[in-house]
Symmetry: C2
Subunit: 133 residues, 2 copies
């Protein structure tokens, strides 16, 4: 499985750094929803679901965490450890997050509003969805 | 000048915290652009401009900073010091940011793509714009 990285343009100068992303350009879809995960307790793992149709881009804007991608055949791990390092989370990809540092802020852009019906929250249900759709 | 706060819904549980914002709902406009400011050096002040038409919402997702709002008649300061505390930055408001903590990550949602022509970067130009439009 080849991960699609979304490099973020860092506009740095003598004041500090700024990353700007334009919807439909840097982020390859319209931004309907944004969420950020923070204050994650030590040892916690999150995610453990896939989406039927939702596309997302994730970036650790502070601290770091590990993201696990699983397409039903292969598992790949990626360290999200830079405000400049985005990754595309496509549809039909089971994903998990772990190894959150205390200060980690994981920022995620999504192309649709929240819809519980789009989630596949059980791994066997995910595999069945891959087989049958 | 009355500031319009945008309270962010924090979905906290035994794992940690998550804030989700929906475009056109929690954020009162479509999200065309998102930027984040980080690694700001000690003593730096940023901003010092207004927008003719751009609307924004800002939130410090980590650390804190002070935002100054100026409508040409009055200056108001606000501490952005919580991932749950968003503030609306309307059109025609001169704004400045200062007192960034070392760990501050200031996240900003904007309703238009980047357009240099929308900026008023000189205070006297800003006042003249207020008078004449």
């Amino acid at each position: 499985m080849k991960l699609q990285m979304i490099p973020m343009r860092v506009l740095g100068d003598e004041r500090g750094s700024l990353v700007a992303v334009e919807a439909n350009q840097d982020i390859p879809f319209p931004i309907a929803r944004v969420y950020y995960i923070f204050g994650t307790l030590e040892g916690v793992e999150r995610g453990f679901h896939a989406h039927k149709t939702l596309q997302q881009v994730a970036v650790a804007v502070r601290g770091s965490c590990t993201m696990v991608f699983d397409d039903g055949k292969e598992r790949v791990e990626l360290e999200l450890d830079s405000p400049a390092k985005g990754v595309y989370i496509g549809t039909r990809i089971w994903h998990e997050m772990k190894n959150f540092t205390e200060d980690c802020v994981l920022l995620v852009f999504a192309d649709q509003h929240y819809d519980e019906a789009d989630y596949l929250r059980k791994y066997d249900e995910f595999l069945k969805f891959l087989e049958t759709t």
